[in-house]
Amino acid sequence: MEITVNGEKYDVRRGISLFEYISESGYDMARTAVELNKNIVPKSGYKNCILSEYDMLEVVTFVGGG
């Protein structure tokens, strides 16, 4: 099914959880924040968050410095 991540369309399997998507896509989970359909998803909810078709994700990966 199609989802949009950071403005790009991707095809993912139905039933995939946000946790699985982030892990399998190679993001460093400890340095990411995810917005799903305009809401930031708490990390504690990633495993129970099953993605739906046409979901819009923004995945932010932080880098160090400040």
Binding site: A30, R31, T32, A33, E35, K38, N39, I40, P42, K43, S44, E58, V60, T61, F62, V63, G64, G65, G66
Partner: protein
């Protein structure tokens, strides 16, 4: 704009070792910003978490603008190595950053309401520490801490705006640093890419550009502008 009358008055006051009054500083800010804008800035309630290269610059910019309520949080002490980009002075080395910065800001505008917390944000205190702040500027220097903070903020607060930061290392073009709006409650400033992980260092002007992007977004929000 007539600055000369103000200058005379303040010089007269200084020669008597008096600082300008609340009304004098407020009037001076209103003259610069217009009263309508200043009243909105003065009512702002802004927290700055992390008082290093980003946070000390953000806090100073907001104090100069006259943001009425500042909440400054950092557990660390000033070190000589901080002075390459942070607002501290040689005389501040060894002091808590919160206390040193408070001293500096009070010499800019002693009439601001500035609360300091010399603590580390953790899973417990994050639940309540921002209850009186409408805008929070995340100014940590570590990527994992930044992500954890974003997670905690949106878990425990259902209102308020977070202005975060990522990517300001090196001496790439200043034009690469942007403000990005993720949603109405979440903005990120930086270039998103250049971090300490790449082996690049932190320089005052470049980090300052990111800090001022954050401070600029604060003032935009306070004056009713929500776009990046």
């Amino acid at each position: 704009m007539k600055d000369s009358e103000d200058k005379d008055k303040i010089q007269k006051n200084n020669s008597l070792n008096e600082i300008p009054t609340y009304n004098e500083i407020y009037a001076s800010l209103c003259k610069r910003h217009t009263k309508a804008v200043q009243d909105r800035i003065s009512s702002g309630r802004v927290a700055v978490v992390g008082l290093g290269g980003l946070g000390s610059v953000i806090a100073t910019a907001l104090a100069r603008a006259g943001v009425g309520h500042l909440h400054l949080i950092d557990f660390d002490r000033v070190d000589l190595s901080n002075l390459n980009r942070q607002q501290y002075r040689l005389c501040d080395i060894g002091k808590y950053k919160t206390e040193a910065l408070l001293e500096i800001l009070e010499e800019i505008n002693p009439y601001l309401d500035i609360k300091i917390d010399s603590i580390k944000i953790d899973k417990c205190n994050i639940k309540y520490i921002f209850e009186n702040d409408n805008i929070v500027c995340e100014a940590f220097d570590d990527a994992v801490s930044k992500a954890l903070f974003v997670d905690g903020f949106f878990t425990y607060y259902k209102s308020g705006v977070l202005i975060s930061s990522s990517g300001m290392a090196g001496l790439g073009s200043g034009n690469d640093i942007i403000t990005r709006k993720i949603n109405d409650r979440f903005y990120i400033c930086g270039d998103g890419k250049n971090g300490l992980e790449s082996g690049q260092q932190l320089f005052a002007p470049h980090v300052g550009i990111c800090a001022c992007h954050q401070a600029n977004m604060v003032l935009r929000l306070l004056t009713g502008m929500t776009g990046a």
